[in-house]
Symmetry: C2
Subunit: 388 residues, 2 copies
């Protein structure tokens, strides 16, 4: 565990088939006005909206609606949400949806009492909030982002062709999150496997860095094995509670700060995927999947030892009589085969990217320096070119 670090994650989680009961314990802690944030309205079809509204009324809350949060929440929508929250004098923001809805709720929460431009302050200058923060609670209906137990918030600015994430400190973490695996049953398969790959990428982005001693890497290997085991079951049998619950729990721990402790982290797959999304508006997890193999094949020579460990510990590659490099590549091959079997999109063409967008996507790619190799513009272009 290198360096000095702090760990604090105060989010209270209610998990299981009766998790929504937790709302009744949490709501009395906050004032009367609740901004109810949700997405395209699927929660109205599957009954979750009615159940949440029922509990809000039972707890004597005044409900102010803010629906229509899109999969890649935009700066324009954020401005609308800020205005709604101000008008409502919201005491609590309750996000009912997937990671986008939770991300959006957090962005609103730090902007309501902020006098500056939220995009400039939080997503360009990466400043921390200096104003009062409205508390956020989540009822999760889609799995993947980990937004239910972290300070992350990703907002897309279409005018600037930028999709940028800010990881806020623990004061912005949701105060509570309701995690009922059954709420994820109605998510279409495309979204489900996209979420599963988002989880996997979160773990790998933190795993592929640093030395082999780190406890965080051992925990990551455990999470990866669990995810692969349960994904294989869920993709065949989406209503398998045990599998869906394990995926949900793995998603939360994949990105709640734990497995990044005591090490540097990479995040280039996310930076590349977000650049693709900024130009195509494609589903987050699929953008990650589509750039993964070109990126990992590019950096493998800089981290053969770690990729070989990954192959043996996660993909059960037998290293007997093989070079480290051969073991490492065999691990990637197994991963690639698994991704295809899962139904992930393996190229950006299928996501709507064209060669004409290449310059723009290269320009939109933020460069991180925590991985095994800091990419130059030429490298980014090479990886994205190989992703078509």
């Amino acid at each position: 565990m290198i360096g000095n670090f702090t760990y604090c994650n105060p989010t209270k989680l209610y998990f299981g088939k009766d998790a929504l009961e937790g709302l009744k314990l949490e709501l009395p802690k906050y004032g009367k006005n609740v901004l109810l944030v949700y997405g395209g309205g699927s929660i109205k079809k599957n009954g979750i909206y009615d159940r949440v509204v029922g509990i809000l009324k039972e707890c004597g809350k005044e409900i102010f609606e803010d629906g229509g949060v899109m999969p890649n929440p935009t700066y324009v929508k954020l401005c609308e949400g800020i205005a709604r929250a101000r008008a409502a004098e919201a005491d609590l923001i309750l996000a009912v949806g997937g990671g986008s809805v939770c991300d959006y709720a957090k962005a609103v929460s730090v902007s309501v009492h902020c006098n500056e431009d939220a995009w400039e302050k939080y997503f360009i200058r990466f400043e921390e909030p200096s104003c009062e923060i409205i508390p956020v609670g989540c009822v999760l209906t889609m799995v993947g982002t980990g937004s239910e137990m972290n300070g992350g918030s990703v907002i897309t600015n279409h005018a600037e062709k930028l999709k940028i994430g800010h990881v806020f400190g623990e004061e912005v973490f949701p105060k509570f999150s309701v995690l009922n695996p059954e709420f994820t049953y109605t998510v279409p398969k495309y979204q489900m496997v996209s979420g599963i790959y988002d989880i996997m990428s979160h773990i790998l982005e933190q795993y592929f860095s640093g030395t082999d001693d780190n406890t965080s890497d051992y925990i990551s290997e455990g999470l990866l094995r669990s995810l692969i085991h349960s994904a294989n079951i869920a993709v065949e049998d989406p209503k398998n509670y045990e599998a869906r619950s394990n995926i949900m729990w793995t998603a939360t721990w994949a990105l709640n700060t734990l497995i990044a402790k005591g090490k540097t982290t990479d995040w280039m797959v996310h930076m590349l995927g977000q650049a693709v999304a900024a130009h195509t508006d494609a589903t987050h997890g699929m953008t990650l999947a589509a750039v993964t193999m070109p990126y990992y094949k590019f950096i493998l020579p800089y981290a053969t030892e770690k990729f070989a460990r990954y192959a043996t510990q996660v993909w059960d590659v037998d290293p007997t009589g093989k070079t480290k490099s051969a073991v490492a590549y065999e691990g990637l091959e197994r991963m690639e085969a698994w991704m295809k079997k899962l139904g992930l999109v393996m190229n950006i063409t299928e996501l709507g990217a064209t060669r004409e967008m290449l310059d723009g996507m290269v320009k939109s790619t933020l460069i991180m320096d925590g991985g095994y190799k800091v990419l130059g513009e030429k490298d980014v272009r090479a990886v994205l070119s190989a992703s078509f």
Copy 2:
């Protein structure tokens, strides 16, 4: 992840060589009067006491001493601590030491404002506190118990020959803990390996239960692999920072509620070990080590599948061409060889237990029902008899 559960762990951790700086951020949050709790005085020899007192004074605190907490803190000492905390009108209890000191601090924290007998209320009737709880902070100097990030508190009542642990809810968790791996360098080897085995036993007690799907089990396997890796280094080179820091971090996550989520847990090794300790006052981790092999050999036939998984995933046993049972036993053999190499005490005779104590130890053993087999009195006698 079976059943419904909640997760919340609000303890803030400061980790690393500069972790003590965290004290300066935390102390201003509390009132003037600090009860400074510590053990036999080793912190006065290694300079940690002076550094802590320096920061307390710098932060304008009034210090009230409560030293002499013994390795198995007693009910008699607890009563003394309650009286001291009351006299000091303590606003904060700062525990500087290992798990015993942290455990003791928590027991004092829930008893100062309690009008009932603390032993009867918390350790016999297992009630939750209904009074004001004094906040606790920890500066850890020994690794193993995980007490720095949980609600556990184990107290020994010599008059009744009982050593009993109460796992309190999150309101009793330390508000903050300072984890500097360097503070553990001066711990004698006997105590260090004892702590390492305490960590291992915490993980295994939660691992050996339930089905093979559970995400918690995958995380546990990661923690176990990390612990074995780093223990092998630390036992040869006790001042290896990387190894000691990984062991410290693993210890915290081995018992801060995470890896028990969504499953039942066993804890019979602890119940047997605590019965031995109640009669011998032997070091905690050694009592666990001394009863482990007889207990696991006893329950293996009831959980062959899980012990075989343990053998392959944690001890790298090659299962090719072997029965599940053979794989499972080979795992235990590798574990036993590793324990001996580490220098653990492998029988209770060496810890001072005699055949004359057997009846008493059997009587002192609490029976838990979360493992693969609920032990009868005859079983407990058989396991303890095989531990001499």
